[in-house]
């Protein structure tokens, strides 16, 4: 007899991801196998040039939507064949950068019933980095090395330094491949000059990127993606267990070969489609620039893909949870690294973070906030004083600027905006819920900002003297008030005074009084924030 599945449960083991990328439409259907591996059942690729529209006019033309929907409906048909119920449709740069994205998404929804979710750049990269880390950490060899991870999107270049199994630093730089085409415009026609100009243009980024990097020398440059795989093939890269390794020399040799050729010549020579050849030159240029910046032995190409990350997230719940936790750790680590770049007061930051966590966790029922705000609060605690490096005067404003223009893996730019505002207002006197000047934040974001801010201000006040006076605090939410028990043997008049000045805002935000109460000095050391 046929081994028939008992119920429809097997459909729960399949998922599909549709991606609207700047160079095409992609769809993958996958199944979770019992050994926790991902089995790709279908992989569809339909080339489609959105990017040119987006980067040249800032908009996607409406007539492209029609064609897009036709293709998407084809994908849907394949997805339905497997009776997949969980479908995630994501869009990256092409829609992210288009000013009419919301209308396009609505039209796509009307014609295909697909809900398109625009993946923020930071989110896209955190998926990719997460996937890259997974691959790297599975390798006993590479996981111990210092690495520079690079991910070239059509709109931007993401780089991250990696050491001892986690990310030290990450930054997004707005030099994507199509960006290059946009900038260079008509120069595409004259290819002999094109490669020269690309290089000159890119070299202007060299110094700023170099100065950002915590490590100036790494063992390898690690990358992933279709294009670098193609480059690896052109360089006759060595392949081992799905990893491709390109030596410096092989890379530069290949670059010399190709740099003065037209895309047609490249296409003919390497038997690749001309459209792909066209995109290869900017990729070559960017990798070359990175090799100029950082000392390294070779480029390592690893099999990490955004789609895999999305599919795994949908299919493996436990793993997704753990990944989320890992990513939080990475966010915190990056925040600390950012703090270090501005010589922040590590001790103070740590204490404030601790107090924030006590307050946050002790008030769960009152603020009703979840895990993301908790993370944002911690990041705000770590970085609230980073601006002091620039000047003590208006340091909160400097902190705001530092945070809002940074990129922290695992935090979206909206979240970072909230964090930045929390930092900006953390030391403001006479703060009132009406005068926060939160600019472009939404109502929900403003309320969130206020809640985090109220907590951070109390925590900051508790370490007003920036000296380790307090052993431990305990937080109790009573029906009539929030009671903060301060365990210490030292004099805390300054802290009490400082808190006094912040409670009004706190009460305004939460509708509860906050009262300090002195507790016994504690032998038990205060917990330190993990991660």
């Amino acid at each position: 007899m046929n081994p028939a599945p008992k119920s429809d449960s097997s459909s729960a083991r399949t998922a599909a991801v549709i991606q609207i990328s700047s160079d095409g439409l992609y769809c993958e259907v996958a199944e979770a196998r019992k050994d926790d591996s991902l089995k790709i059942l279908e992989r569809l690729e339909h080339p489609f040039n959105f990017a040119q529209d987006t980067f040249s006019t800032g908009k996607i033309r409406y007539d492209k939507v029609e064609k897009t929907c036709e293709v998407l409906n084809g994908f849907k048909k394949i997805i339905q064949e497997y009776r997949v119920s969980r479908v995630r449709t994501t869009a990256t740069t092409a829609l992210r950068e288009a000013s009419n994205a919301r209308f396009i998404i609505d039209q796509i929804n009307a014609k295909t019933h697909l809900n398109v979710e625009v993946l923020e750049d930071a989110k896209e990269k955190s998926y990719i980095y997460g996937q890259m880390l997974d691959v790297i950490n599975r390798s006993p060899r590479y996981s111990k090395e210092d690495l520079l991870m690079a991910y070239i999107g059509t709109g931007s270049l993401g780089i991250a330094e990696f050491s001892g199994g986690s990310i030290l630093f990450s930054q997004n730089i707005r030099i994507g491949t199509l960006k290059l085409f946009e900038i260079l415009g008509d120069l595409q026609d004259s290819y002999d000059r094109f490669s020269m100009i690309v290089n000159e243009y890119l070299s202007s980024f060299k110094h700023p990127i170099h100065s950002l990097l915590p490590l100036k020398k790494v063992k390898r440059l690690v990358s992933c993606g279709k294009e670098i795989q193609m480059i690896a093939r052109l360089c006759n890269a060595k392949e081992k267990d799905d990893f491709l390794s390109i030596s410096q020399k092989a890379f530069f040799d290949a670059f010399e070969q190709i740099k003065d050729q037209t895309p047609r010549q490249v296409a003919e020579k390497y038997k690749i489609p001309e459209t792909k050849a066209q995109i290869l030159l900017p990729f070559f240029g960017i990798y070359r620039m990175l090799l100029d910046i950082i000392e390294t032995d070779s480029i390592l190409v690893i099999p990490a893909r955004l789609t895999d990350a999305l599919l795994r997230e949908m299919l493996f719940k436990e793993e997704a949870k753990k990944k989320k936790a890992d990513l939080e750790k990475t966010s915190l680590l990056s925040a600390r690294n950012l703090g270090e770049r501005f010589f922040y007061d590590t001790g103070h930051a740590q204490r404030v973070e601790t107090y924030c966590l006590e307050l946050f966790d002790g008030m769960k029922k009152i603020h009703r906030l979840g895990q993301r705000p908790r993370l944002m609060l911690r990041v705000a605690a770590i970085l609230h004083d980073a601006g002091k490096y620039i000047h003590l005067k208006k340091h909160a404003l400097h902190s705001f600027n530092i945070i809002k223009d940074s990129e922290l893996p695992g935090l979206t730019s909206r979240e970072l905006q909230v964090v930045a505002h929390v930092a900006r207002l953390h030391s403001q006197e006479f703060l009132d819920v009406d005068n926060m000047e939160l600019g472009p934040l939404t109502v929900e974001e403003s309320i969130l900002t206020a809640k985090l801010l109220a907590i951070l201000r109390i925590a900051d006040a508790l370490d007003r003297s920036h000296s380790e006076k307090i052993d431990r605090i305990g937080v109790k939410a009573k029906p009539e008030e929030i009671r903060v028990v301060v365990h210490t043997a030292r004099d805390i008049s300054l802290e009490t005074w400082a808190v006094e000045k912040k409670v009004d805002f706190f009460e305004e935000v939460f509708g509860y009084k906050l009262r300090l109460k002195r507790g016994k000095p504690d032998e038990k050391p205060q917990r330190t924030p993990e991660g």
């Binding site: 046929n2 081994p3 083991r13 196998r33 690729e45 994908f75 064949e81 497997y82």
Partner: protein, 709 residues
């Protein structure tokens, strides 16, 4: 008939044979089978009729194409160095010889043999008055109403005669002695062979003779001076502008109209026609004398196929051979269950095509099957394949059918059932612009406990239950995920959903199939250079691709033993000193049409065998979607090698080509008499009888070709 032993002058200065002449040689080989008195009489008539319909197609497509080239002033040369005009001249010569041989065969050999079987072909003068009387009745009641004589004069231009229709040209004189030409179409709705009751045996009179006899009834007031049957063949190559076609289906329907009125390419006319009539016809049809074939007997040999269904004469046919079940699948409730564990190979027509239908039916009804996808190129009338796909769609399966509307001469048929499938809820697609979908793939996606499983059937031949009894083809069932993945991807390409992927096991034309072949041939040559025994065996229907032939020459020069089993066109010249010494070309023409494509590479002791849908012709490699796939199971691979060796050792139906392109029966002296098709019949039978011991029975124990040791 050309004498196979007569030495042929070396006209070929080139390294390649001409395609058309090579094809005509193939048709001569079929004619040999019609001549061969070892074959049963009605089978010989079949072979003869096939040579006739083959020639019809040849004129409608190939000759028409060459004429268009000449018309367009194209002066390029083919592989063999001939211009189009030269080719037409040589074709004309060769076909004239062929026609002579065909009618020799019919008149001198087959008709007398039929007479011995008491089947008589009669003229009016052979009939007694009673018989004429009943014929008269038949004419007046049945024939007369469907005949429309058409007079030709200045006011009435020459009528548009349908392609391949049989007509009578009539030369008339009126009451004022005025001359008139008329045309009468022999009605195609009535039987060509009009039965005449005899006391003993069966008599027939040809319809055109009946019409001739009663012609005066058609032209009252005129005197019939002379009559002659003729048949016109037209250009039937469809020209479809796919790029601008909004709806391919509609576009093809339109162009089918054109086929009826393509320009004339051949005139067959009864010999001894009055010169006056003959010249008038030539003039009106604008046809050149080289394209006129005077036929010493009844025109249109393809019509004789009808006669092979003579009731009560089954003894004059080949002994009926029932296709045998494949032991692995015999009596199994589920094909899935068998194929989940192992690959299964099917040799049609020796083994049953029913297994494929069973598989499809099971898929249509199994609640766990999610999707069925299939390519269809030619299907039989009332095809059970089409019926089952419709049933599957009605059962809620996702059914995707790739229908090739451009399958030559099946276009009309295909349009009809494509519509039927659509109506039943199947998702029907017509393939990619400019490319015919020729690959044979059936994919079933099924939900199982372990997850999604894919079952694939791949074949060298069409999903056609009728031709599966006549054509030799090989099919493979597999549940190997690499095949399933490639099959899925292939359909995604064909439906236009996706770009081609990196294939895992398939090689797909036009995306690098030729390169794949070249690489494999080169690899073999490399082994030869390194002093290893190197060998390749290809079995195809046609070998025409210049690049591949040149690579084969190189391989031969490096010492690769190249055995080619090419049924039809072969442009490669075997046995040319210094060029192709190590190449042997064999053609097998027998009761079944050799159709499977098999590619064997010795690969330094780790043999690789591929099956597929592609011939080695530019059209297959450049303008069609074809797939070639490996057979990975070792025992199946050995089975296929055995099959190839068997064909190469055929002494009864195999002809070997020489360097001049002449095909001779292989010299069987001192060898075991082998009819490879007959052996396959035996093999399938024995395999089935001793099922369970499948592995024990090698298909064929090859005699060593090289010196031992």
């Amino acid at each position: 008939m050309k004498n196979p032993n007569e030495p042929r002058k070396d006209k070929e200065q080139n390294l390649f044979f001409n395609r058309e002449l090579s094809w005509l040689d193939f048709n001569f080989r079929v004619l040999e089978e019609a001549m061969d008195t070892r074959n049963p009489l009605l089978e010989r008539i079949k072979f003869l009729a096939i040579t006739g319909s083959n020639l019809d197609e040849f004129f409608m497509i190939r000759v028409a194409g060459l004429m268009e080239q000449v018309e367009a002033g194209y002066t390029g040369r083919d592989l063999s160095g001939r211009t189009s005009r030269q080719q037409l001249e040589e074709i004309s010569q060769k076909v004239h010889l062929m026609v002579k041989n065909q009618y020799n065969c019919l008149v001198r050999s087959i008709l007398p043999a039929l007479k011995k079987e008491k089947v008589f072909f009669l003229g009016i003068k052979d009939l007694d008055p009673d018989q004429v009387e009943s014929l008269d009745h038949y004419f007046r009641s049945t024939v007369f109403p469907v005949i429309t004589p058409m007079a030709v004069d200045q006011g009435r231009p020459f009528p548009q005669l349908p392609n391949k229709s049989l007509n009578q040209a009539v030369y008339l004189k009126g009451p004022e002695k005025e001359e008139l030409l008329a045309v009468v179409q022999v009605p195609s709705v009535l039987p060509r062979f009009v039965p005449v009751s005899l006391e003993e045996g069966q008599g027939y009179i040809l319809m055109e003779n009946v019409i001739a006899h009663f012609a005066s009834l058609l032209f009252k007031g005129y005197h019939v001076e002379g009559m002659v049957p003729f048949r016109l063949t037209r250009n039937a190559d469809l020209s479809i502008d796919e790029d601008d076609a909004q709806d391919l289906l509609v576009e093809i329907e339109k162009s089918l109209q054109q086929r009826r009125s393509g320009f004339p390419v051949r005139l067959e006319i009864a010999h001894k026609a009055k010169p006056r009539l003959r010249d008038a016809l030539l003039h009106m049809l604008e046809i050149e004398s080289g394209d006129v074939y005077e036929v010493p007997g009844p025109i249109d040999l393809s019509a004789w196929m009808k006669l092979t269904a003579l009731p009560g004469k089954e003894a004059l046919l080949f002994e009926h051979v029932a296709p045998r079940p494949v032991p692995a699948l015999y009596d199994q409730p589920s094909v899935f269950d068998v194929v989940r564990d192992k690959d299964v190979l099917l040799h049609h027509p020796y083994q049953s095509f029913e297994h494929v239908l069973d598989f499809l039916k099971e898929a249509a009804r199994d609640p766990n099957v999610l999707a069925i996808k299939q390519t269809l190129y030619r299907v039989s009338g009332n095809s059970p394949v089409v019926e089952t796909l419709m049933e599957a769609a009605q059962n809620g399966k996702q059914v995707t059918v790739l229908v090739e509307l451009k399958a030559r001469f099946d276009e009309e048929n295909n349009i009809q059932w494509a519509r039927k499938l659509e109506k039943a809820g199947c998702y029907v697609v017509y393939g990619l612009v400019g490319l015919k979908t020729h690959c044979k793939v059936l994919l079933v996606v099924r939900r199982e406990d372990e997850g999604i499983a894919r079952y694939v059937h791949l074949s060298t031949g069409n999903y056609n239950d009728s031709t599966a009894r006549l054509y030799t083809d090989i099919g493979l069932f597999t549940s190997n995920e690499l095949f399933g993945g490639d099959a899925s991807s292939l359909f995604n390409v064909l439906t236009g959903y996706s770009l081609p992927p990196q294939w895992k096991v398939f090689s797909v034309a036009p995306l690098g199939l030729r390169d794949r072949f070249l690489d494999l041939i080169r690899r073999e040559a490399q082994f030869a250079r390194e002093g290893m025994g190197a060998r390749l065996i290809f079995k195809v229907n046609s070998l025409l691709d210049q690049t591949i032939i040149q690579e084969l020459y190189k391989a031969s020069q490096q010492g690769v033993q190249v055995d080619l089993i090419v049924r039809g066109i072969c442009s490669l010249r075997p046995g040319l000193p210094g060029v192709s010494d190590n190449i042997r070309v064999v053609s097998i023409v027998g009761r079944f049409l050799e159709h499977s494509r098999v590619f064997y590479f010795e690969n330094a002791g780790s043999p690789e065998v591929f099956l597929g849908s592609a011939d080695m012709m530019p059209r297959n490699l450049d303008r069609r979607i074809e797939t070639i796939f490996p057979v990975l199971d070792e025992s199946l691979r050995n089975q296929l090698l055995g099959f190839l060796e068997l064909q190469l050792s055929d002494t009864l139906r195999a002809r070997q080509a020489d360097a001049q392109g002449a095909y001779r029966f292989v010299d069987g002296r001192g060898k075991e008499a082998v009819d490879s098709q007959h052996r396959m019949i035996q093999w399938a039978k024995e395999l089935f009888q001793q099922r369970g011991e499948e592995e024990l029975k090698p298909l064929f124990q090859p005699a060593r070709h090289r010196d031992e040791g």
